[in-house]
């Protein structure tokens, strides 16, 4: 099965990252997360994604492994963009193959939700007037504090 896991500086798409399917696969589910033109009532023109690259690559591989182990999923592709993305560009692709649809839906949902909760990636919105704002995101679950 051809799968890909990691960060990408170049454009990505579901068509390019859809997992291969052998004869035992009955369901292939592929999700694209895209840059939309609005958030919290403001018009967004582009997003700037920053990443702690070395850690993010390890976290993506960990999420891929956990998805396969927790669900009846035979293969997983998981790629996140970094850099500057315009409205409509694909920010993240999750693609899973499974024998049955329920495992494919559940596994893909787990993978994308875990990416959003754990991947050390940050996005800054840029608005029509040129101003920018970092989004708050999810606090690290096991972070340390004083």
């Amino acid at each position: 099965m051809n799968t890909q896991v990691g960060l990408s500086d170049a454009p990505i798409s579901a068509a390019d990252l859809r997992v291969g399917a052998g004869p035992a696969v009955g369901a292939v589910l592929t999700f694209e997360g895209r840059v939309r033109n609005h958030n919290e009532g403001r018009q967004v023109v582009r997003l700037h994604y920053d990443a702690y690259r070395q850690m993010a690559e390890e976290v993506l591989r960990d999420i891929e492994r956990r998805t396969r182990e927790a669900y009846e999923v035979s293969s997983v592709s998981l790629v996140h963009r970094v850099g500057t993305l315009s409205v409509g560009e694909v920010a993240v692709v999750v693609s899973v193959a499974a024998a049955h649809r329920s495992a494919a839906f559940d596994g893909a949902r787990f993978a994308i939700e875990t990416v959003k909760a754990e991947l050390p990636v940050w996005k800054q919105e840029e608005y029509e007037d040129g101003s920018r704002r970092w989004l708050g995101g999810n606090p690290a679950a096991t972070g340390s504090s004083e």
């Binding site: 920010a91 959003k116 940050w122």
Partner: protein, 87 residues
């Protein structure tokens, strides 16, 4: 990372996301005594850039989330992890 003499270690703390602009090069250099913990590092960071970092900081050591009591080594890769926002 290098050990200075026998009693201080120098750590470079990597900064990402909204923390990047806190320091030139998106990195802060700290001198810590041997045996210093992540909690000690957080206190040093707040002393070095007062008011620029939130009170609660998530710290990654060697690309894993670290607990406050974890002891730091001179060779450790240290980074601050703002609230993540991928997807």
């Amino acid at each position: 990372m290098t050990t200075i003499g026998t009693d201080r270690m120098q750590l470079q703390v990597q900064l990402f996301g909204s923390y990047r602009d806190i320091a030139p090069g998106s990195s802060l250099s700290l001198e810590m005594p041997p045996g210093a913990t992540v909690a000690d590092l957080v206190r040093c960071l707040h002393d070095k850039v007062p008011g620029k970092l939130p009170p609660n900081l998530a710290v990654a050591v060697n690309r894993r989330h670290a607990r406050a009591e974890q002891v730091l080594e001179p060779s450790d890769e240290v980074a601050l992890i703002p609230a993540v926002a991928g997807g």
